[in-house]
């Protein structure tokens, strides 16, 4: 498909701007290079971007079981609410008495999310999960620094963790200590006990863990860290399995981030914008990024926490994303939150059961909201890899699971159906998975060649990296 720069012709344009109704002025040092932007008519513009949209698979196009990403349905009412002019047309620096509705959104979302997570305070500034991790770790750092406990320079991370955890720790100025996971992907408690000490600033963990199993030793784990003087950070990537069932705050976590674009149904937008709200216990509240919303004299105010780490972003966060998440929580409410979790877990176990007819599971059931298959034996037997199966799924209109993650499982496929998929859809998808397993034995070459029905086929990633072409250059 042509690039937008290759379409239209110089002179084609939309008619958008009126004539200037005041005397025109110009800069003395003005732009000298020509500005090469597309030149197309409105017809061409809408067709081009419509064509691009058609070359994308979203949740609305079909099953999207991308493990660890919680690709649940994105309710349309959320979009309507975020687009209300009373939200979308509000300047972030308006007088506080004219933005009471926006502040109420933040205050209400904070109250509800703190209840769901067992936290005492929350900031909505972080724009994504990784940004939330960075913010949460800075809270830990500020806490220790404030107590003059400056020898705490290390963050403990299990080896099964997503790469963002160690990367965030380093951005926050910490050294990373990797500890091994047990056979079930859970924390090796003895390894943790050996790793903690006076240099421990904290531990980063997800629970359920990266392979979809609830770590039953969680209370002991958080206790070990606390007794060593460290704090516990909860990566909320997997909260969808347990919301309304158990709370990170009750597990002993001091600070968490939530991916509103995963657990709370806001759309992923092709890779953002999300929101990585950070909640914390009372002891960390004085360090939250400012400003935060507080009630005062019957109205909402923006206030600066006493020992704030400062801003991590301009203004207050991805506000429109928070409006969507709040709309979702208000819709499903008290019963709906645990219902979503239970059905996410039910759906995952259902698929796990059906697929275990042929595929090898990396860990014993039951799983939480996602499970990991290892295709190592299939690969050894037939030469068909996890990648080949994934590409085979593409020809059936199914988005593949997360591939080759977690790194501790060989030939991994990680499946997370979410609660918003029906039994009918899952049955159809499981049939396809099982068919592909058979095909791996009867016609492996077909899978090595897949996909064949997509707009493009397997792409040369090595060539792309060796000779980077990162923008269009006119021939």
């Amino acid at each position: 498909m042509k690039l937008i720069f290759e379409k239209g012709a110089p002179g084609q344009h939309l008619t958008l701007m009126p004539a200037c109704d005041v005397p025109e002025v110009a800069l003395s040092q003005s732009r000298t290079e020509p500005l090469e932007l597309p030149h197309v008519s409105e017809t061409e513009l809408t067709r081009h971007y419509t064509a691009l949209a058609k070359r994308v698979h979203g949740v609305n196009d079909g099953f999207y079981p991308l493990g660890s990403c919680t690709m649940k349905y994105n309710p349309k009412i959320n979009e309507d609410m975020a687009a209300l002019p009373g939200f979308s047309q509000i300047h972030p620096l308006q007088p506080v008495e004219t933005v009471q509705g926006c502040l109420e959104v933040y205050a209400e979302a904070e109250k509800l999310l703190c209840e769901i997570t067992g936290m005492d305070g929350m900031t909505f500034q972080p724009a994504a999960g990784a940004h939330g991790e960075f913010t949460g770790l800075l809270l830990i750092k500020a806490y220790h620094t404030h107590r003059n406990d400056t020898a705490r320079t290390k963050i403990i991370v299990p080896d099964s963790a997503h790469g963002t955890n160690p990367a965030s720790a380093v951005m926050a100025g910490y050294t990373v200590v990797n500890i091994p996971s047990g056979k079930d992907g859970c924390v090796d408690v003895e390894a943790l006990r050996a790793a903690v000490g006076p240099d421990t600033a904290g531990l980063m963990l997800t629970n359920p863990n990266t392979v979809g199993i609830f770590d039953k030793n969680i209370l002991e784990i958080t206790k070990i860290v606390h007794e060593a003087g460290g704090l516990c950070y909860y990566d909320g990537a997997n909260l969808n399995a347990v919301m309304g069932i158990v709370r990170p705050g009750d597990m002993g976590f001091d600070v968490i981030h939530l991916n509103l674009h995963k657990t709370f149904s806001t759309p992923h937008g092709g890779g953002g914008p999300g929101a990585g709200s950070v909640g914390c216990k009372e002891i960390l509240k004085p360090f939250l990024p400012g400003p935060v919303v507080a009630e005062k004299d019957g109205g909402w105010q923006l206030v600066q926490p006493e020992h704030s780490i400062g801003r991590v972003k301009n203004f207050y966060g991805n506000f429109a994303v928070v409006v969507r998440a709040l709309t979702y929580i208000l819709t499903i409410g008290r019963e709906g939150i645990p219902e979503a979790a239970q059905n996410a877990v039910l759906n995952a176990n259902y698929m796990m059961k059906k697929l275990s007819e042929k595929y090898t599971m990396a860990y014993e059931s039951p799983c939480m909201h996602e499970f990991v298959m290892t295709l190592q034996d299939l690969h050894d037997e037939t030469g068909v890899s996890a990648m080949d199966i994934a590409k085979g799924l593409l020809d059936h209109g199914i988005h593949p699971p997360t591939m080759y993650f977690p790194l501790i499982v060989h030939e991994a496929l990680m499946i997370e159906p979410t609660e918003t998929e029906s039994q009918e859809t899952m049955d159809e998808v499981c049939d396809v998975f099982l068919e592909l397993w058979d095909l791996a034995h009867t016609g492996p070459q077909i899978l090595h060649n897949a996909p064949t029905k997509t707009p493009v086929r397997r792409l040369d990633e090595v060539g792309a990296a060796r000779n980077p072409v990162l923008k269009y250059t006119k021939a």
Binding site: Y404, E461, V462, A465, R466
Partner: protein, 124 residues
């Protein structure tokens, strides 16, 4: 698999070409490049860097992984092969021609393997 007889080898799969008693050229072996797959970039060390035996002195990237390259000797980086920045594929295509760095002030490389020993080592 190619194991040139005139080179010495480390157990981290680097080759060493002795230029004189304190200067060597180093690169990755044929075995290493085949294990790493198609390499797309190398993060070269800087001239003047002190390098330590069995510690990382640069890294190489494939599409899906990054791997440390361990120094086979103690010494100081005298020169780096900047051509590899533009043509990382040479590490795959000609591993023994694609030297990564010239290291000087080298001490103690007696325990490096010769070609036969290294061949036996990788076949284990």
């Amino acid at each position: 698999m190619n194991f040139p007889a005139e080179l010495k080898y480390s157990k981290d799969h680097e080759w060493v070409k002795v230029i004189d008693s304190t200067t060597v050229l180093v690169g990755i072996t044929d075995f290493a490049q085949s294990e790493l797959g198609d390499l797309v970039f190398i993060n070269l060390p800087q001239e003047g860097d002190e390098v330590t035996k069995e510690e990382s002195f640069c890294d190489v990237e494939s599409v899906k992984a990054v791997s440390d390259v361990m120094s086979p000797v103690d010494g100081v980086i005298a020169e780096v092969n900047t051509e590899l920045e533009d043509e990382p594929q040479r590490l795959n295509e000609d591993p023994y021609g694609a030297w990564i760095a010239k290291i000087e002030k080298v001490s103690a490389f007696a325990d490096l393997m010769d070609a036969a020993a290294y061949e036996a080592f990788v076949q284990k």
